[in-house]
Every structure is written in structure tokens, then in C-alpha cells.
Symmetry: C2
Subunit: 491 residues, 2 copies
Amino acid sequence: MGKEIPSRSEDYSLWYNELVKKADLAEHSDVRGCMVIKPYGYSIWEKMQQALDKMFKDTGHVNAYFPLFVPKSYLAKEASHVEGFAKECAIVTHYRLKNAEDGSGIIVDPDARLEEELIVRPTSETIIWNTYKKWVQSYRDLPILINQWANVVRWEMRTRLFLRTAEFLWQEGHTAHATAGEAVKETLQMLDVYADFAESFMAMPVIKGKKSEGEKFPGAVDTYCIEGMMQDGKALQAGTSHFLGQNFAKAFDVQFANKEGKLDYVWGTSWGVSTRLMGALIMAHSDDDGLVLPPKLAPIHVVIVPIFRSEEELARIAERVDQISSDLRKLGYSVKFDNRDTHKPGFKFAEWELKGVPVRLAIGPRDLENGTVEVARRDTKEKQIIKLDDVSKAIPDLLEDIQRNIFKKALNFRNEKITLVNSWDEFQQVLDGKAGFISAHWDGTAETEAAIKEQTKATIRCIPLDSKDEKGKCVYSGKPSNRRVLFARAY
Amino acid sequence: MGKEIPSRSEDYSLWYNELVKKADLAEHSDVRGCMVIKPYGYSIWEKMQQALDKMFKDTGHVNAYFPLFVPKSYLAKEASHVEGFAKECAIVTHYRLKNAEDGSGIIVDPDARLEEELIVRPTSETIIWNTYKKWVQSYRDLPILINQWANVVRWEMRTRLFLRTAEFLWQEGHTAHATAGEAVKETLQMLDVYADFAESFMAMPVIKGKKSEGEKFPGAVDTYCIEGMMQDGKALQAGTSHFLGQNFAKAFDVQFANKEGKLDYVWGTSWGVSTRLMGALIMAHSDDDGLVLPPKLAPIHVVIVPIFRSEEELARIAERVDQISSDLRKLGYSVKFDNRDTHKPGFKFAEWELKGVPVRLAIGPRDLENGTVEVARRDTKEKQIIKLDDVSKAIPDLLEDIQRNIFKKALNFRNEKITLVNSWDEFQQVLDGKAGFISAHWDGTAETEAAIKEQTKATIRCIPLDSKDEKGKCVYSGKPSNRRVLFARAY
């Protein structure tokens, strides 16, 4: 079918790139680092958005929209924040084009220089806290529980479709609270929401943890994250939730009168997931034949391929398929009847496998006679014959089973690839061989963290929330340590 | 309640501005020309998005996402297009900030100048047609029916919340077709979708028409529009649908092999509506007490205000309200129980009127005894007492009636304010007195159009699609004319 992709074992990185392109998910645009999200890819993102948006609203959040541009001086107000983002900003300096006087074409009008440069938001803490300042006077104005769906820009030098692009789509929650306790609770609640989304919808097991000082968000007091494992054993940070303390409130002078009438700075959180999740979804489950989509995020749940030799046969099949489709649609499933007469069934099978449609039904004249249909599931490639009359009972169960199975497979894979390591030799061997997550003792210093990263490219993915107190020695420095952390190479 | 707004007759413009702010819809940000869409305003926009998105999908369109940035050279490829947008562009010239060497703060790094400047998209025809070039080889690749939900930036010098802002949110459809006829059909289909949305959801009657050459979209062959009338008699262009001919296909060399194997340029359309619709919605229906929202776009359908003197009374009311709310929610309505004990009923009534909630229920201890409840509708301010047991039957009918009534009122107002005018004196008198739309003969020349605009600030809103052939003389030049067009001052 001319759409073959390399195998994962051959070249994992190329497999990913080709899969993203050939499954019509996204492609590079001519604008450096920016991608075009194609309709099929976008329809998966829409499913993610819908599920997340509902989860945000169910936890009391509302959506709003803040400006795309951040004045340079705002970005500079929180010291570590600007330090973290200054190196990768898209900067608007002018507001008009004009015809060059020498007739050479369109040029930037030098007379239309902005007094203050505007940064295309890399994240919106600064513009939002500058707004919250106007909204908050008293504890009665708190909490503010706002989420924004938006595009952001970080001028990354090395980009990969979905995983790291100059512009990406995301949601960013920004909340304001009267107490530190409330803000911490919110931070952890949203971490749980992300973990629940990753596991229940994406079928991707994640480890919840806290970032080291070196890996935390610029401007946060604490950064929490969910880390997933890809099929090459590398980690992918799938979402972060930050406890901002009073950092942004202080930078933007957001104070409130508490119940005792005393002025205090507001406590903040922010949390986000992005189109990066698309990359995680693809790399967590897909195989050498293409995408494997968990049913809860699949734009098409069931594809029906007719096996026919004549128009008359197709017409008879179509009649029965109409019934089946209608029944399944009533149950809330998306059904595609691929009745093209320009392609053979084998081509269609391969195409829908590439696109990750969870269930395929194939039905021919003999099936009609026998009242049967062939059901193939994408995840295991297993086929079975079932009765046509049973379709609307069998498919819902099958889809649930596929959702469960994809998660279970990823969970088993992930768990097998978490290795307890106690020596530096072993650390390096595991990293270069088995790969995956390494659970090891760390002395808690930035120096050791940096040295390990320098020597192995492995970073501390997180200090898992469920990690136990355990006396040990740092795998690198030999200094004392109180608990294990997770190391891995990461996307 | 400290939230009073000026009356429309006093100062229509101030009434609008204050209403937008006090009803918590939007506010100006500190970034010149950019607004913050507040949660209540955004929730109305979300309702618009959902309805429109469904209409687009029902007519065969899919969503996708294209880059925020347009290379300067792309914008320049279609001559009239760049002419139309060059004067109001936000231009990205650099990609990094750094610390000033003299310690004076953060500055734009002069070494990080982009080779080619990037324009923040004012609209996406250029970046999208540059992409379509890669997607289209044969007639089999057509049509492409794509919509994008996005933010765009036009550096307007004079801005007003929702009506004209530097950054705004919108959707832009971009379709590609094998024939001119198909593209024209698509253009008109989407015009119908917009008109249907405006009338059925926004309860705002619109006139469908074609723009004059002078008012059409830069790069279009024909621009069609829907024009609504605001309560001050001014017009508001609420949506446009453009037949692009082969203009962008030629500018970006998008050719396809037709069924005969012959190469031809692709035919295009684009169409969009924006957060401007929020301004139209507000100005079409609202009154001196605040917003009047058509139920189909109201984030809250029913607000329930308890009338109580003690906690015990409130508890008894709450119990009954829980039942009512639950019943209404099951029917798909959004219900708010305003049980605050910090504000009196009168304050709450005014607040929910300001926010345009279509139906208010007030319920006190005596109502409980009598099994009754007071129902007030926002549009007419009429009140009636109904039986508590009838609520879940009466409310759906009432909401439908409100939706119909708001439309009818706006339709009557609009129709009364369309004046047939046959002389230049009358033209000016009507414009300065009665205002509204003026139906008059026009000689079809750009000169006359410009002269009328210059002298009266009235523009040709459109040549209505249903206008009849009628011989006459141009109201301004006296030259012959074949049909009337609509003039008005406009937002």
C-alpha cells in the first residue's frame, strides 16, 4: 500500500517519525519548528480535550482566555521564570509591513517599532497573575480556578512532531488560593486528574512524583509530574502540576485581605498537558503495523470492510452494514464503512491498521448467508467469527477489553523495565542495555544530578510519591541517601 | 448592587462597554488591544463553538491546526492579500532574550535575529494553501474540507472589547475544490450555516448578501456576509464566506490533475466567524438592566433564588430546590441555586438580570406551603406564579418561548429600521435620524461608494441575495442602477 513504516527494532526514532506522517497525524510545516496537525491527528487531540475538559469542570474549574502576548517586562518580573524561558522566546518587535522604497518587496516598517517588545507566551503565569491582581482583594474572591486552552511558543532548536515543537497546543490551569494548604491540595488534585486521564483514557500507566530542584518549573516551589514509559524504555513527562507558593503573587503584588483582615500574598498553582500527549500515546502502544489506539480516544471505533466482487454483492452487504452501523452509533460508537471500490480489502485492512482503528469487521456474501462476520481487534490482531445478530452486544465488550488490554500490556512492560540498581556500574549497564527506569539512591545534590546527566544523559525523572524511606548510598557519589529516585533517559 | 450600567439612550457606546465589564464577560488587558475573556464570557463563547462545530461537522468538515506564524514572503505571495493585511501585522523578528551587559535588565538578543520575519497570522490562507500544495495532486485528493479554531492577530489601532481587538478567537474554514461550481456552492452553504446559527442560536436576524468590490476580503473573488442590526441601528458584519476562485492556488501553485488528466488550479473558499459574535449577541438583545441571553447560548438557563429568614427556612427550601434542579438538569438545563446568605434577594435578582439568565425562580416558605413558585423571564420581565409540580413541564416551554420571542423582537426592530430611500437628502436624514439600514440604488462604482462613505460614514453593507432587479437611479450620483443595496453605519 506504499505506506509501510520501518520497524521499531530497526530504528525506533524513524519508526515514530514515519508513523506520525503516514498515519496522517501531523507533518512539519515550512515554518521552522512548527507543525501542521492533520485532521486525523487533530480528531484524537479533540477527544483528549473533551475528556480533560470534563475532568477539569468536574473538579470545579472554568475556562477563560488571556492574551497571546506577554510584555517583556512582565516576563522579567519573576527571576527564575525569565531565566527559564528567555532563551527560547518568539519576540514581536514591530506592528506593520510596508513596500520597500526601492521596490524590492515587502519589508518591516522601521517606523512601526513597539515601545516594549512582546513575547509570544511560552506559558501564561505572568500575564495571568498580572490580571489576578485586579480580581483579588479579599479572601472572598478566592479561590480562582481557571483553565485556558491555548497555543504557546518555545523556540526549541531541535524539534520533533508532537514531542517538541516551537508552537504547541495545550491547556494551562492557573489557580489562586488563600492558603498554602489549599494550593498544595489543588496541585496534587490536578496531578491525580492527569494520572487518571493518562491511565483511563490513554491506557498509559504513569508514575506520579515530584521533580528534583534541578528539573522543576522555573518559578515553582515544587513541580509534580506524571512519567510514562515509551516502548524504547525512555521516559516521557506527560503532565506537570506546579505549586507556585507565593512566587508569582509577590512578583505581581497580588495580595488579599484574609478573614482576620490581614493582608497576605495569594498562593498559586499551575498545571498543564499539551499535544505532547499525542507523542506519548503513539509511542506507548503502537506497533510495526501502525497506530494502536485505546478505544476511548479513537476517532473511529469500528471500521467495516465489505468483501465483494460485484456491485450487487456490495449493495446486499451495505444493506446489512447500515443496520449494524446504526445500532452501534446508537450506542455512541463511531463507525466507518469503507465501501471504496478503488481499493482491495487487503489494502484497506492495512490502512485501518496503520490508523489504529480498534475493531475491524469484514463481511462478505458468505457471511451474509451464514449470518456471521469476522471481527479483528487491532491490539492483538486476533480474529474471530461472530454472529451478525450479536454485533451490538459483542462490540462494546470487545472495546472495553481492548482498552483494558492495552493498558495491561503497557503496565507489564513498564513494570518489567523498572530496575532497582545499587552500583554505578550496574546503573550504566542497565541504562545502555535493558533501558527503562532505574530506581536508585541519590545523595540529593544538584552536583551529582548534573554529573549523572553529563555522563549518561539520564535525568532524575521524579521522586515517586509512593517511594518509601530507605537508608542507602548514592549510586554515584556513595554519600548517604534516604530514598530511591527514578532515573531514565527521556524525551 | 454597585454594578449599575448607563442606559442605552444615555450613551449606547458606554452602555456596551460597561455591560461587557460588569457582566463579567471580558476586560482590557495591559497588552495593548488584547482582551481577557473572563469565565462567564468564555462560557458563552464555548456554547457558540459547540453549536458551530457541530454544524461544520454535519456539513462534512473536519478540524485541523496550522502554524501561528506566517513567513513574510508567504503573506506577500497574493498581492491584494498582503495589501489588505500589511498595515496591521504583529511581526516576530527575534527568538531570544538575554541579560543586558550593563546589568540594566533583559533585552532582545541582537544575535538572535530571524533570517526571515514571521507574521503572527492575521488569517491563515497563505500558510494553509502552502500546505495544501503538498496534499493535492489529483482530483481524488479533493475536496479538502477543513476548519480551524484559532487565535489571530490584527494590529488594530482603535479597539473595543469583542468588536475589534488586536487578538481575537475565531474559526476559519479553508476548503479546496476541483471546480468553480463546487467552491461557490460551498461558499454559499457556509453562508447559510452562519445565517442559521445567527438566527437559531443567537436569535439575531441577519441579511445574507454579497459585498461590494470595495468591501470584499483581500484575495477573494467574491465575499458573502451576514449582516445583523444592533439596537442603535448600526450594522454588524457577523460572518463572512469567501469564494477565493483560483487566487491562492495560483499564488501557491496548487494544481491538480482533473479526471481528464489535465492540470488545473484548485478552487478555494474560506469562511469565518469570531469572538465578534459576542459583541453582536450583546448589542442585539441586551437592555438597560444587563444581558439578555437567548436560552440556546445561556451558560445558566435557570437561577433559583430562595427567599428565607432563617437557616431552617433555607434548609426546607433547599430540599425542594434540589428536586427541581435535578429534574431540570435531567432535561439538559443548567441550573444555579443561589443560596448565598451574604446577599439579599433583590441584589441577587439584579445580578442575575445583569448576567442575562433567561429564567429566574424565586421560592419562599409561603410558596412551599402553597406548592407554588414565582417564575420571572428575563426578556420581558414578566412574572407569574406556577405550581411547583409543573416546573419541569413549564420551564422547557418557557425557554423555547423566550428564544422565539427574543428573535421576533429583534426581527421586528430590524424590519422597521430598513428604509427605502430614493434621494440623497432623505438618505442623510434617515441615517442621522432613524438610522438602521438604508435600501437605496447605487451606480455600482467604487467612486460613489467612497464618496458616500466619506460624507456619511455609511458603507455598503451588502447587496442582499434576495434583492430584486429594479431599474432606478443612484441615490448619490443619479446614474442608472439595476438594484438596491443596503447602506448603514457599521461596527
